[in-house]
């Protein structure tokens, strides 16, 4: 069966739905595919907030897109595209206000004075009362994270999905795109497996948008939902012509709970929470006297691992961890603005966050890398292919994303790219060469059918064994701190796993909507993503943002002010890497104002290898 549509959006999280809304409201037929009902998407899990420089709070006075831009570029450790960051900060206020128009119950400014946990008293003005409020997040100069009580992602997902229903956009849920249909020049849609029946069908579209979110689950331990397996990145990479950008840039969030890896929001620290060690000593001020717990995520995660390595971790059957302390924020605050956190502590850890400490440690959280696109969201390498949100490398985040910039990115990028797709469809001649497409559809479908047959025929390897080995390698050797020895071993181990994955078989019948078949079809692509991360990290001989090399502790602007591009030729063991310069339009590389601050500047090198400590 083949289904024709103007625009095919793969993924129904915030980025996919926002792009779909933009294209549909301009009169095009949009079909959204999703692994799960849209409201189950991982976007729902974003508790904390969305960055947009509205400047409505006393602690936001003087905020502007300019300040947001500077925070974002510094946060990225100068790894982001500055024209993209400029576009983003300018549009973020519009995007947040539009969601308010659509119905998001943003928390609002209440006039009057209140005392912050550190004792400071602030006064909100009558003039701003009723406008959208903001809270503090790491790595930002101003309070800028707009939030809807304790469930910002939930409120945004439900509101956007309401608009999708209102516009009559078709959503086909419980389906998985397993291959893109293309001829090496242009993308024509996707081969899709129906997860209700196990049947294959094809979707043909003028424009195909990948919006499948992150790949966190390849790490096994991750804050990501269990569906975040990087499938969209993998099928783009499988074309052999679409490069993934900066896959070595992986964010570890400071506060995943132990055990279970569920995220507790950055809002805990933004609202005044502390990190404590085994002696219940608040250690972050020792490392980061100015930003303390609110340095950027990469810095806080490194400081935590450093502190654990010095022997200050709390021992547990699940390995060492540290404590998050929000007790001093008070019962009322915890049970309203941090209720989701209190619920997680009660339901999954059996503890009361009002009275007890929360066990946390840095946990894989976000992929800054992804399908490399231009500023319009067009994927490199294939016409008619676009990517939005976490699955894309636009590249707004460089080597470290700021908290609250991901929700904002989904909406801004969805809006911008959706608009661009509509324009592309209106202005460009993109006719279907019908006969050619039919042959391509048949060919792509046959290849997937062949993979399923190969699994059914049965090899000796079991999907969950290999997947656990892959996760183990990434966790042990491609984590917060990296070095040449570990990364070399990781690459070698993953190459071997990739070879073994060609010998996958099934232990169950494989009939119908069989989850083992789904997992086995996904795994080789996941191993290629893992290899791309490890190989890119091995070759990048510097430390920048979340990519921290123990053997190359300096940010090396002389040699590495550039982005990794990784393509994977069919049949290859490793990706081929190339590099492109980072676009710097406004803010030249400098000091972030937090973190280790070790930089080899491009200028210093030409003057003779001078290193700033």
């Amino acid at each position: 069966m083949t289904i024709y549509t103007d625009v095919l959006v793969i993924g129904a999280g915030l980025a996919g739905e926002r792009a779909a809304i933009e294209v549909a409201s301009r009169g095009f037929k949009v079909t959204i595919l999703s692994l799960v009902p849209p409201r189950r998407s991982h976007s729902t899990a974003a508790q904390g907030g969305m960055q947009a420089a509205l400047g409505n709070m006393t602690k936001s006075q003087g905020d502007s897109p300019d300040v947001h831009f500077e925070d974002t570029v510094k946060g990225s450790d100068w790894g982001c595209e500055q024209d993209v960051a400029r576009l983003f900060v300018t549009q973020a206020p519009v995007a947040v206000r539009q969601t308010s128009y659509w119905g998001v119950p943003w928390t609002r400014v209440v006039a009057g004075s209140r005392q912050l946990p550190d004792g400071e008293v602030i006064e909100e003005t009558q003039e701003k009362e009723g406008l959208i409020a903001a809270r503090n997040f790491g790595g930002t100069k101003k309070w800028r994270a707009c939030f809807a009580s304790d469930g910002t992602g939930h409120a945004l997902v439900y509101t956007l999905d309401n608009v999708v229903i209102q516009l009559g956009v078709e959503v086909h849920d419980r389906v998985e795109a397993v291959a893109l249909i293309h001829d090496g020049q242009r993308c024509y849609g996707a081969v899709v497996r129906d997860l209700r029946t196990g049947q294959l069908r094809t979707y043909v579209a003028q424009a195909t948008v990948v919006a499948t979110g992150g790949h966190g689950r390849i790490y096994g331990h991750s804050t990501n939902a269990v569906i975040n397996e990087g499938t969209g990145m993998a099928i783009a990479q499988d074309t052999g012509v679409v490069p993934l950008g900066n896959m070595e840039a992986v964010q570890f969030h400071p506060t995943g709970v132990v055990p279970g890896d569920i995220l507790v929001s950055e809002a805990c620290r933004g609202d005044g929470g502390y990190l404590l060690d085994k002696d219940e000593h608040r250690f972050m001020p020792d490392y980061e006297p100015e930003k303390k717990e609110l340095a950027s995520r990469d810095v806080v995660s490194r400081r935590m691992v450093q502190h654990i390595r010095k022997g200050f971790g709390v021992e547990s059957p699940y390995g060492p961890h540290l404590w998050l302390d929000i007790r001093h924020l008070g019962k009322k605050h915890i049970e309203t603005n941090l209720r989701e956190v209190a619920d997680i502590c009660r339901d999954f850890l059996g503890l009361d966050a009002v009275r007890q400490l929360i066990p946390v440690r840095p946990t894989q959280h976000y992929s800054m890398g992804g399908i490399r696109t231009d500023i319009n969201g067009r994927a490199y390498g294939l016409a008619g292919l676009y990517a939005v949100g976490e699955t894309a490398c636009w590249d707004l985040h460089g080597f470290n994303r700021l908290g609250g910039n991901s929700l904002a990115e989904t909406l801004v990028m969805g809006m911008v790219v959706g608009g661009r797709i509509a324009q592309d469809l209106e202005w460009l001649e993109m006719p279907f060469p019908q006969g050619v497409v039919t042959a391509l559809i048949q060919d792509a479908t046959r290849q997937v059918e062949e993979r399923v047959r190969h699994l059914m025929a049965g090899g000796p390897e079991y999907v969950y064994d290999l997947r656990n080995e892959m996760s183990h390698i990434l966790l042990e050797k491609v984590g917060v701190f990296r070095n040449e020895k570990d990364l070399t071993e990781a690459v070698e181990g993953l190459v071997k796993l990739h070879q073994r994955a060609s010998q996958l078989g099934l232990r169950s019948s494989g009939v119908g909507a069989n989850p083992e078949v789904a997992a086995a079809l996904r795994l080789p692509g996941m191993i290629r993503l893992a290899t791309t991360i490890a190989y890119g990290a091995l070759k990048r001989t510097e430390s920048r943002g979340s990519h921290s090399r123990e053997d190359y502790p300096y940010r090396d602007d002389a040699n590495w002010l550039k982005r990794t591009l990784a393509t994977w030729s069919p049949g290859a063991d490793l990706p081929s890497l190339s590099y492109e310069p980072v676009r710097i339009t406004e803010l030249p590389p400098g000091d972030r104002g937090y973190g280790e601050g070790k930089v080899v500047s491009a200028k210093a090198t030409t003057e003779g290898e001078r290193v700033h400590g």
Binding site: V36, T44, R97, W102, R108, G130, L131, S149, H154, D173
Partner: protein, 261 residues
């Protein structure tokens, strides 16, 4: 937790796409581990014992609503059910009412989308969005009230527990009515009481509720069903009696009257 418990799970099995499959219960045994939940247990059963077992987990932290099932006869979120709360032998069945996908997996998504269409679950306004303008103001109390009613995660526990829904498959269900209450509470939505009556003022709507309030007992998010259903019922009864009063309604039941979780 008792030491060294060996748990036995009686799990409903049926694959509607397999002509040879017949509905049955299958037993699986696992050693209990500390802090084990039904998410960790079912994942282990799939990976170690039977990779064909179907169930739905996404967030595994009780916010996405995917994993509702009957645990010893009661609808609840499997991910936040700790095995320590349960006896050694337990029965897991798919949620009733919804179409079965296979084993413990049911199609809640299609049903909730249909409900969204029926209650026209979006802001009805004639005012266009102005990208240059500042956002419209709203009191924070108003925003918090809307948020409280918007917290439904569409897991289906309330519908599975609802006597009215089991008797009438076209009933909007507690969550459908809560969705309507959410828009009634929102001043940005310009629908009149009469327009809302058209949607929910029937036997398939608020007058279909038989008042057992199992929804209120089983909602994993603690949404204020008892207060809101009573409020909607009264409001719609008055609107039905005096249909000429088409003016914009006041806000729903006051915040203070709602139960906390």
């Amino acid at each position: 937790m008792a030491k060294d418990r060996k748990l036995v799970f009686h799990i409903f099995r049926h694959n509607p796409n397999d002509p040879d499959s017949k509905p049955r219960l299958q037993d699986f045994s696992l050693e209990e581990t500390p802090r084990m939940t039904l998410f960790t247990a079912l994942t282990r059963i799939r990976e170690e014992l039977d990779p064909s077992l179907q169930f739905d987990f996404v967030c595994r932290s009780a916010i996405c609503g995917s994993c509702a099932m009957l645990v010893n006869g009661r609808p609840r979120l499997a991910c936040r059910t700790r095995t320590a709360e349960l006896p050694e032998r337990m029965t897991l069945l798919p949620l009733p009412f919804f179409r079965l996908v296979g084993d413990l997996s049911v199609d809640t998504g299609s049903w909730f989308r249909e409900v969204g269409l029926r209650v026209e679950s979006w802001i009805h306004t004639t005012q266009p969005f102005d990208p240059q303008a500042q956002e419209e103001r709203m009191s924070n109390d108003q925003a918090q009230l809307i948020y409280e009613l918007d917290r439904c995660i569409e897991c289906g526990c309330c519908v599975a527990a609802c006597a009215a829904a089991q008797m009438n498959s076209s009933y909007l269900g507690p969550s459908g009515l809560m969705r309507m209450a959410r828009f009634l509470a929102d001043p940005r939505d310009q629908r009149t009481n009469a327009a809302v009556f058209e949607v929910i003022g029937t036997e398939d709507g608020v007058f279909g509720c038989v008042g057992f309030l199992a929804c209120d007992d089983y909602c994993p998010k603690g949404l204020p069903f008892a207060a809101q259903l009573a409020y909607l019922r009264r409001k719609m009864a008055l609107t039905g009696l005096r249909p000429s009063q088409n003016d914009r309604r006041a806000a729903v039941a006051p915040f203070s009257a709602q139960k906390s979780h």
